[in-house]
Amino acid sequence: MSTTVTTGTGEKLWDGGNQPLGASYGKMMMWFFLVSDALTFSGFLAAYGFSRFKFIETWPIADEVFTHVPFTHGSYPMIYVALMTFILIMSSVTMVLAVDAGHKMQKNKVIWYMFLTVIGGAIFVGSQAWEWNTFIKGDKGALETKGGRILQFVKADSGERAALSDFAVTIPGDRVQHQNKNGIWFYGEGSMPSYSVNEVVKGFKENSNILVRTETINAEGEKTLLSREESLAKLKSATQVVEGANLIHNEYGSRLFADFFFFITGFHGFHVLSGVVINLIIFFNVVIGTYERRGHYEMVEKVGLYWHFVDLVWVFVFTFFYLV
């Protein structure tokens, strides 16, 4: 029967030797686990869709958020995520080659392909960590209004995004960090942004080449640019400077975007991490010859299913987070 490896040793019909679906118990349970896990991820992605449809006019545009590539400067939207996708698909390929070699009982080939799979997975997890780091540190900086909306800045002549450091001025002694030794209730504050709201606003007034960009998406699918007068009026409602993103503030736009980014890619990254660990365990088992003695490599096939599933989920995360 096809690629299925039979673990049963020919028990009687009612002793579990019967396989009406042509798959061993372990493999079937792996599949059913994957089905339930797929439903979990679908729940997350559907919740993402819910929040996005709720704020469909103000949702951040992913290509403008994920524009960085390690070791380079400049804006390369999507390139790095596409590369990560390719790395994960590639490690799926080495995994399926390991399963294939396992069916042919070629121990050394299984060892090599498992090794490559683990390496691919590790590169992917590392890339995701880098992606998180870049996202958290932030890019250009923005202002947040009383209503929690984000105001970003654009250079009027080139249409490029302007970083706060491009135009904000420094007002000496404007604001010092509040430390808990000075507070009545001994509450300090987290890190201070590089500029205060006053500094950004003053810099904006002095530099006529800067315009405010709101979260609202116009008919062309781009964020709305305000005129100089509208921008100045809008800046009056700014309450704080936001640099980077966390669960509460997000310089890229809707904070829910950051929440879902951390939650969904984090949950997926956790799957990849556990997949790498499981693959490593199986890798060492192959090396010490456990499956050679057992007579079949079905275990490699089962962890392979999990690994492919991680890849499968990423394909969907990639589409719904980065493309659509």
Binding site: S2, L21, A46, F53, K54, M78, F86, M90, L312
Partner: protein, 127 residues
């Protein structure tokens, strides 16, 4: 142990000599699809973003369809569902598809309703 793989993809249009070759063939196809997605995502052709089908941009429909195509080949060839018994395969595939379609329909409809409440309500959200 006999391990027979079905070595055809695209409904028999493309036949492979052995399983290893099929794996590389599928990889090439998946890479191609991803490349197309990325290129479309970067240039965003006017003709695709301008037209709307069933309330969503044509480009987004293309992305979703291409994703499902990729998912199909990952599940069918990498996870070798193609070689499993059809009853097993259907139990695995149709259960999530049904539940996910149902959930997405409910949640997106509801979200659209809330969007309209925010939009037409008498409370200002943008201040």
């Amino acid at each position: 142990m006999a391990h027979e793989h079905k070595l055809e993809i695209f409904r028999g249009l493309l036949k492979f000599k052995n399983n290893t070759q099929k794996i590389w063939g599928v990889l090439a196809f998946l890479t191609l699809v991803t490349a197309v997605e990325v290129v479309l995502g970067i240039i965003k052709p006017e003709s695709l973003t301008g037209t709307s089908v069933l309330g969503m941009r044509l480009l987004n429909w293309i992305f979703i369809i291409l994703t499902l195509v990729k998912a199909y080949y990952i599940a069918w060839d990498f996870m070798h569902l193609r070689d499993e018994k059809s009853s097993f395969r259907r139990a695995i595939v149709w259960t999530p598809i049904f539940l996910v379609l149902y959930l997405t329909f409910i949640l997106l409809t509801e979200a659209d309703y809330i969007y309209n409440v925010y939009k037409d309500g008498f409370v200002t959200w943008n201040f």
